[in-house]
């Protein structure tokens, strides 16, 4: 039996990689994938604790997250396509119109 610490550690590493990807990269698609990575790090932590503690709530929550993530990907990709059409770029540094 692999101790839960390993799962949690892996989850943390994945999360940090995802967070760094969001923060460092400028390509919207890469950022998007990094966000997915962070969501899945969370999923991993959920299922790890759920199996250790023998509570199904965590497993169920992961399904929800996967469903939300799928919806988010659909909306997010659509947005990226729309942005690309107007800006001819998906560089997030150029999408700063919200700045006052």
């Amino acid at each position: 039996m692999v101790p839960v610490t390993y799962y949690v550690a892996l989850s943390a590493v994945l999360f940090i990689i995802g967070a760094m990807g969001v923060l460092v990269r400028r390509n919207a698609l890469i950022i998007f994938m990094s966000v997915e990575l962070m969501l899945n790090a969370a999923n991993l932590a959920f299922v790890a604790f759920a199996s250790v503690n023998n509570i199904l709530d965590g497993q169920i929550f992961v399904f929800f997250i996967i469903a939300v993530a799928a919806a988010e990907v659909a909306v997010g990709l659509a947005l990226i396509v729309a942005i690309f059409r107007t800006k001819k770029s998906i560089d997030v540094d150029q999408i700063n119109m919200l700045k006052g």
């Binding site: 967070a19 969001v22 923060l23 460092v24 400028r26 950022i31 997030v92 540094d93 999408i95 700063n96 119109m97 919200l98 700045k99 006052g100």
Partner: protein, 695 residues
């Protein structure tokens, strides 16, 4: 109850306030309705007001004789009540004040009537009805004030009247404030009024000091209370009070050294000169001394000073009268001289003689002044007749050198004037003979206590007869020196009839106090108030000397002015033999010039120094502008520049720039890059989680 029973009960005494209020009512009627009334109506109202006061005075005198001279006080109004201080307006009716009331209202009424005719013709009147009305308003106000003066029961009420008559004197001297006595545009009359007022103020100041001192030491101003304590007070206090009072007397009664205002007061219309500046107001000082007799009698030293002031004034003014050319100026100096006789008399304690002379002098001097007014108007008429309407030529109708032989043109006035002159010169049996003789007799009898007074008064009496003789010869005899004098015209009856009454009084007035056993009426009458005095018998020596002196003086004046009448343009025949003496008399001994050099000029210089150097240059320019204003300015600059701009404004500015700078820093955080926002979120989450983990 018949009339005499009412008099016995003293009920009439309660009428005393009417003495003041009847003239005031007359004044108010003329003030309110006078604008729509004719000249005659205005004059009648004023004369009736004064005449009714005379009737009241008669009733009071009658009641006094019915109750054997018992003094009576009529409380009229509460005035000042502060703690111990109780000052009321109370009327005092005693034999002394009754004499004054009778003289004031009696002579006053005659002069009111005369003034109706006089003011109608006064050269400057010119049918100005408002001026006419104002004249009678002032005259009635004067009568009211004089009544307050003589009927007051305390020094304070006396002072109220004293100031009131001073005001009326000022108003009436400057009555023609815009014309001089010749009818030319000038402020000379206003100046004369001012001079009188200021000279009187100096005297009033002395009188006020006397009142304050009296109140301080006696605790009262009421006559009876003050006199009751006169024996218990130290002599120095009483001496101080009496001498302060004397300053007031020299002001009001025109004695040396404050007499200078009275000759200038002749600028007033002639009825005013007669009423105020001869018969009544100027005798207020004599009345004051007689009223304060218990005080003066207690201090012989002060009495001697009073007597000497009177005697010196009598002689001094008489010498000046000899050198005057203006008919009214001669009479003015004569008035000063005669007032000197009265003051000398009351100074010697001869109160009866003083009041006796006061009364007879009121008769004959009012007569002389009013006759002089009649002469001046007669000359005016002549001048008007010659000028045929165009009277641009300046002509002095009061200058005796322009007259001559007027007895032909103005016979009535001539005889009236003669009666007044003989009375003034002291010729037997005219009124002035008896009263002046009584003064001289007193001076002779008291010669050891009052050395010098008799001699001074005798010389003054000699000069009196001389200058009056000079006047008579110059005015009524000889040849007319101008065409105007040839065409002079007699005055109408409204003027001459009051003069006849006065002339009768001037002839018979001596009967008031004949120096024979069984007479001495005035002496007995005043004795009720002043204490019984022994009536002096006629001293043939004194009477003879004074009569001879007067006759000799008139004789000399005939030799100089009568035998060879003054020719047109000829200088006074006395000018050559007397030399500088006559120049002195002619120029009033240069007293006015001396006062100007010694007092007025230094005073003006001091005032100029105070106003220009001290007030303007030092106080305004330096202290206000340099010290206060500039100091305030630099203080304000200090507050505005370093304090306000430097500190307070800097704090406000600093707050603003701090906000600006900090917001500029914060602005950089909001860079629009989503990932940097995400980093913030991450860091926040890490921080919170870290806190939760490690707390």
């Amino acid at each position: 109850m018949n009339f005499s029973e009412v008099a016995n009960t003293g009920l009439f005494f309660n009428l005393a306030p009417l003495l003041v209020f009847l003239p005031l009512i007359g004044m108010l009627i003329n003030m309110i309705f006078g604008g729509k009334m004719s000249e005659k109506a205005i004059g009648t109202v004023a004369s009736l007001a004064s005449g009714s006061a005379f009737v009241v005075a008669l009733l009071l005198a009658y009641s006094l004789s019915a109750v054997h001279g018992q003094a009576y006080t009529v409380p009229f109004a509460e005035w000042i009540h502060i703690g111990e201080l109780q000052l009321d307006w109370t009327f005092r009716v005693d034999t002394l004040s009754a004499v004054m009331m009778l003289v004031v209202s009696g002579v006053g009424t005659l002069i009111h009537i005369y003034a109706i005719g006089y003011m109608h013709e006064d050269v400057r009147f010119k049918d100005d009805l408002r001026r006419f009305r104002r004249f009678f308003v002032f005259l009635n106000l004067f009568i009211a004030m004089m009544m307050i003066l003589v009927s007051g029961d305390s020094y304070l009420m006396l002072f109220v009247g004293w100031e009131g008559v001073g005001l009326c004197s000022f108003l009436l001297i400057g009555f023609w404030y815009d014309f001089d006595t010749l009818g030319q545009k000038s402020t000379a009359n206003a100046e004369a009024g001012k001079k009188a007022f200021i000279a009187n103020r100096i005297g009033d100041f002395g009188f006020l000091l006397a009142i304050f001192t009296t109140f301080w030491h006696f605790g009262s101003l009421q006559f009876d209370e003050v006199f009751a304590q006169a024996g218990h007070q130290p002599a120095t206090v009483i001496t101080a009070i009496t001498l302060f009072m004397l300053i007031g007397v020299t002001g009001k009664s025109a004695q040396v050294p404050l007499y200078v205002w009275l000759p200038d007061a002749m600028a007033g219309p002639t009825p005013v000169s007669a009423l105020i500046h001869a018969a009544t107001m100027v005798t207020a000082g004599v009345y004051l001394v007689v009223r304060s007799a218990p005080l003066y009698s207690a201090v012989p030293g002060a009495q001697y000073i009073v007597a000497m002031i009177g005697a010196v004034t009598a002689l001094f003014a008489a010498t000046i009268a000899v050198g005057q050319y203006d008919i009214k100026k001669v009479l003015a100096y004569s008035t000063i001289s005669q007032l000197g006789f009265m003051v000398a008399a009351v100074g010697m304690g001869a109160y009866v003689a003083g009041i006796f002379h006061l009364a007879t002098h009121a008769f004959f001097k009012a007569l002389l002044f009013l006759s002089a007014g009649s002469i001046i108007l007669g000359m005016e008429r002549g001048h008007h007749h010659l000028a045929h309407g165009h009277d641009e030529e300046v002509f002095d109708p009061g200058d005796m050198r322009n007259m001559g032989n007027l007895r032909k043109q103005m016979p009535v006035t001539f005889w009236l004037y003669m009666a007044g002159t003989l009375a003034l010169a002291g010729i037997f049996p005219f009124a002035g003979f008896w009263s002046k003789d009584e003064i001289l007799l007193d001076a002779k009898l008291h010669a050891e206590h009052f050395p010098g007074v008799y001699a001074l008064l005798s010389i003054a009496a000699f000069l009196t007869a001389f200058y009056m003789g000079r006047q008579i010869w110059m005015v009524f005899f000889g040849k007319e020196r101008t065409d105007v004098a040839k065409h002079a015209k007699e005055s109408p009856p409204v003027m001459t009839v009051p003069l006849m009454v006065l002339a009768a009084l001037a002839v018979l007035g001596g009967a008031l106090n004949l120096p024979f056993e069984g007479f001495h009426n005035l002496g007995h009458w005043l004795g009720y108030t002043l204490g019984e005095v022994e009536g002096l018998a006629l001293d043939l020596g004194v009477a003879g000397i004074s009569t001879i002196l007067a006759l000799v003086a008139i004789g000399i004046s005939w030799l100089i002015y009568g035998r060879n009448p003054l020719k047109e343009g000829q200088p006074d025949p006395l000018k050559k033999p007397l030399g500088f003496l006559f120049t002195g008399m002619e120029n009033k001994w240069f007293v006015d010039e001396g006062y100007k050099a010694v007092i007025i000029t230094p005073f003006e210089k001091l005032a100029k120094f105070l106003s220009i150097t001290l007030d303007w240059n030092f106080w305004h320019d330096w202290f206000h502008n340099s010290v206060i204003f500039a100091g305030f300015q630099s203080f304000a600059r200090f507050l505005s520049d370093p304090v306000d701009m430097g500190i307070i404004n800097a704090i406000a500015d600093g707050l603003a720039s701090l906000t600006q700078r900090s917001s500029e820093g914060l602005r950089r955080i909001q860079n629009g890059f989503v990932r940097s926002y995400a980093l913030s979120v991450l860091l926040g989450v890490v921080a919170i989680l870290g806190y939760l983990l490690f707390k």
